[in-house]
Amino acid sequence: MTNFSFFSGRELTDEEIPTISDLHLFAARPGLSDLPHCHRCGNTSTFSSHPCARCGKRCTYCRNCIEMGKISSCTTLYRWTGPEPEHPEKAGTLHWSGILSTGQKTASDNVWRAIQNGSEHTIWAVAGAGKTEVLFEGIAAALSDGKRVCIAAPRADVVRELAPRLEKVFPDTSPAALYGGSPDRHIYSPLVISTTHQLFRFYEAFDVMIVDEVDAFPYTFDQSLQYAVQKARKPDSSLIYLTATPETSWQSEIQSGRRDATLIPARYHRKPLPVPNMVWCGNWKKSIVPASVLNWVKEKEKEKALIFYPHIDTMNKALPIFKNINPRIESVHAADPLRKEKVEAMRRGDVPILLTTTILERGVTFPGIDVAVVGSEDRVFTESALVQIAGRAGRSADCPTGNIVFFHYGKTGAMVRAIKQINEMNTLGQKRGLLDP
């Protein structure tokens, strides 16, 4: 074992570091405390136990993070205590010639300052504002100062999308992209882009921790992922949160000034966000495709549209009805083996309308689309989900408008608050001069 740099910042089980002789360079602690408390994932509630053939005792194990390799009472966690690897020369040189919008510039300055001060900052940027670019200056400064930087995202596809963009602007510090089964998982880099899950394998590793899509499932729901973020960052590190639609408690903290934040209420192309309409459509669980939805599709001979359904089963029932209108209409859901192909076909224009569950609520953009939500009162459509869904429309500068309809069988608070949030962003954008007349 010659290259120890891999171990820097990581905390691994005895099984993950099998061939080490220089154990004196590693600090060790048990995988579980007596409570029990899993030191890797922070779990304190989901355990089981069995007579253990390895230690000869009845051994407790963590069921929460078992997919990453089992942590038992007799597991030891090791972390590297040797020196940190040096950054490559020119690590912080930024290869980017883009221009920040006025809103982005303010955010970028505040991110830079938080990173210099080792403090916490939240960027609340509407979909299409260009939140990634806001990080560049701050990351460049951090890398120049020899700091180690991590961007954590909730899902592997976000990591895969971010990695090449950062590779391009920081070619001297090729980022390590970490997700389950990723080819980079044995690589050391001062710039790491990781799923929140893979952070479980780090311990006080990062001087700058950036958490993307804080509002996204499962981050808000899973205490153990919050634990992962806290464990992976150094005690005196800076913490940057990115969100397009923060949860209600964060919104009020931001508004009252208790949470340090920068808002970017306008898109990069300086046109207002399209505002959704609400249309009552009767019992859609019975009609599956309500008449008002059919009319919406036929009325303008929709060229490109996303239609969201709350559940796979109703969506599957709806598909043949839509195929009667146009056989090229398709549907997609999380476990769909053709998910990537269908999204690509939609992008090429081969699929005019795509029915989808909430999996396409964020991340993907198609220029010039309209958006409908059928059964928008369903509880899967939270305020933030609806804001994200509305954020799919009007993304390109050539086609900044878009028609968005919430088809419902009874208005919900989430629908009303989502529309209110979008309107407030437009008002604020107007007031700050971030929108073109």
Binding site: S48, P51, A53, Y61, R63, I66, S72
Partner: protein
Amino acid sequence: MSQCLLCENDTAVQSWRGFFGAKAPVLCNICLNQFEKIDGPTCEVCSRPMDQKGICPDCAAWEKNIFISNQSLYHYNEAMKALIARFKYRGDYALAEMFAEDVRAMAKKAACDLVCAVPLPPSRLAERRFNQSEALIEMAGLPHTPLLARHESDKQSKKSRAERIEAEQTFYPIGNAAGKSILVIDDIYTTGATIRLVAEALGQAGAVSVKSITIARSGS
């Protein structure tokens, strides 16, 4: 409130049943529905699903042995494959609970004198921390009699591949089963080769007959 062993869903029983002391199921309905129980006609020896009851050609071809029959609970579909991988290789011992009730009932019906696990070679056991076959027996609340042990299988063996698959006997008796009927419990039945080697070793311990219960029946 009780939680599904596989997802976060609540599995609490309907209130009136709970009132009469019904136990909450181990899995929620969504997870449970992914697994297919074997019902309908099967091979009387190996539990393979067939068009009509009888003995399948594979079983007809086996030499005579004190092994009588195997009974399997589930088809080895994708969901079961993932579940058994999590149980056996990831080491999620708790999952054995979802089979406990069925295994107990089938063991009662099999009416054997002793219950015995399929042993693992020592190095494999240390690596996995528990033997999945013993876990199934323990969770079902059955008394386990260790009658067998297992040598490390010799991977560098000079024997041909076919010889190894056919004949490598790694099981050996460590207990006395004179005149007894034995029930063996394991996770998967595939070709029947393993259980017949187990039966042979149990025969050396004096057993007169062997039956098996397996969680899943793989193969066509």
